[in-house]
């Protein structure tokens, strides 16, 4: 078996062996860092991977399940976001647990009850070995402010959608290292971006690594990314504070809550149309007709399955959608 790498950080002359904790979806990174652990979002490696999982529904969960069970990713433990998010993850997470990796199942409240979320966060903190660096959430809050600036600059045409997306999506684990992540954020180059055909990308993020750049090349300006926006929107300085904010994580809440949020956000960003990305074998596909009847914008629904480049069939749809927006 490969040796599990430990990340060493020196704080106040004490040497802390930082543990690497994998997450399957949004788990407040504030708490993971505060518990002296280094979060690692397993989805990060998937769009660039060339994996064809054997037994799959959704490729996202199938690939991380296979990689974790085969120890292709070095981690010490795993947190599976189950309740309020994804049942495929719940099952694939149990497979990983059965392979011997210490695994914790984290549940968001469907009704947004902060007390319930607080109790979940205390259980998570027990699993992680309790809070040891209470200053981390405050540092993350500052980084999230930078993230919100990046998002705004993108919507104002000063940063490309691809660059903004890559940073925002990384807020789920902040690259496991706050200083390094801050450097990456500050190195983002500003440039003038044409904002004709402003579109919002809703649903789970595309499994294709080049999607935002392809959309831009085809004349579509993505000015909103639904899920990554959740990654920069929530914070909190301690467990009760984190619970009060993260209980409004839209993906875990009922659809009317999420739709109301989208309506306001899309209005603010003056979008011309919506791209609804869906993933093969994901329950979010069932939401398409509800989104269509509640969001009053031209909408393109696309579906991905395996990771890689954006396929030609999807490029055709994007191009036709741009022509459609230009006609309307």
């Amino acid at each position: 078996m490969k040796l599990i790498q430990k990340y060493k950080l020196t704080v106040n002359n004490w040497c802390i062996v930082q543990k690497k904790t994998a997450i399957t979806a949004l788990v407040p990174p504030e708490l993971i860092f505060a518990c002296n652990s280094e979060p690692f979002d397993v989805n990060n490696v998937i769009p660039g991977s060339k994996k064809y999982p054997r037994n799959k529904l959704c490729a996202w969960t199938a690939i991380w399940q296979e990689m974790l069970s085969k120890r292709e990713i070095d981690i010490d433990s795993l947190i599976v976001v189950a309740g309020g998010d994804c049942h495929n993850a719940l099952v694939d997470g149990q497979k990983v647990a059965m392979s011997g990796i210490p695994t914790h199942f984290f549940f968001y409240p469907f009704d947004g009850d902060p007390d319930y979320l607080e109790s979940q966060l205390y259980k998570l903190s027990d699993f992680l070995g309790n809070v040891g660096s209470p200053e981390k959430p405050g540092q993350i809050r500052e980084l999230k402010k930078l993230g919100q600036k990046i998002d705004k600059k993108r919507a104002d045409g000063k940063i490309s959608a691809g660059d903004a997306f890559r940073i925002m999506i990384s807020f789920s684990d902040l690259m496991g290292n706050l200083d390094k992540f801050k450097e990456v954020i500050s190195s983002t180059k500003e440039r003038k971006i044409d904002l004709k055909n402003r579109v919002a990308l809703i649903g789970v993020p595309p499994i294709f690594h080049d999607f935002h750049d392809v959309a831009r090349a085809l004349g579509l300006a993505v000015v909103f990314d639904e899920l990554p926006f959740e990654f920069i929107r929530h914070s909190g300085n301690d467990i009760p504070g984190i619970a009060r904010d993260y209980c409004n994580y839209t993906f875990a809440r009922p659809l009317d809550f999420r739709i109301k949020f989208l309506q306001e956000e899309l209005e603010k960003r003056k979008v011309d149309g919506i791209i609804h990305y869906t993933q093969f074998a994901c329950h979010h596909m069932l939401e398409d007709e509800i989104m269509r009847s509640n969001l009053d914008y031209p909408m393109l629904t696309i579906q991905g399955d395996l990771p890689g480049n954006t396929p030609e069939q999807i490029k055709l749809r994007l191009e036709a959608f741009r022509e459609l927006l230009e006609r309307s």
Binding site: P298, M299, T301, Q313, L316, R317, E319, A320, E323, L324, R327, S328
Partner: protein, 228 residues
Amino acid sequence: MIGLDVGSTTAKKVSIEDGEIKYQIAGTHNWKDLITGIDGNDIISTGYFRKSIPHRASVTEITAAIYGVRHYFPDADVIVDIGGQDTKVIDVKKNNFIINDKCSAGTGAFLEFVANYFKIELKEMGSFHSRAKRIPAINNTCGVFALSEMISQLVAGYTQEEVIAGMHYAFARRISFMIPEAQKLVLIGGTVKNKGMLSALEDILQKEVLVPDEPQIVNALGALKYYC
């Protein structure tokens, strides 16, 4: 200026001379023959290969279909384009489109499959259908399962004509799931020349389905009209 539609099986060229539509059709592998002596700057391209052929401007098949159909039926509200590899449904009024390119059961490939099984030409399918006395129920919408259901119906005593008609119904039912409410529904693409499939679709939707005189050249014409 010409409209040039180079798709996966055929290439079509359209020009308008003195208000009259002129066209030529060739196999995709012979697409170059259609443009001998024509400058790339005079070509508006569409179809799968729109970007790999010389062009002044290119437009997707979806937009080309809207402009092309408008020439024949200015008030069409839904267009269904059944091609060999995919089926596109365009809701012109609601400004929406869907494409099925995942499952062959809803594309021209499905009917080709049936024709190959009976070793007949695709264009003969319509006349086989018209000779059917009964229509067996073929419920599967998956191409492979529909084929095995078709064989069971043959064994059960249905004639080849009847089974072909049954397959047209299975195909049309599959397409009908994609079609929204429409006042004027227009069908384009090579497959619509198949009268059996057309009548099955009209029967299922309980409405008249309009077909332009030359359904195959609509997109090439539309590309031209889009630009000019």
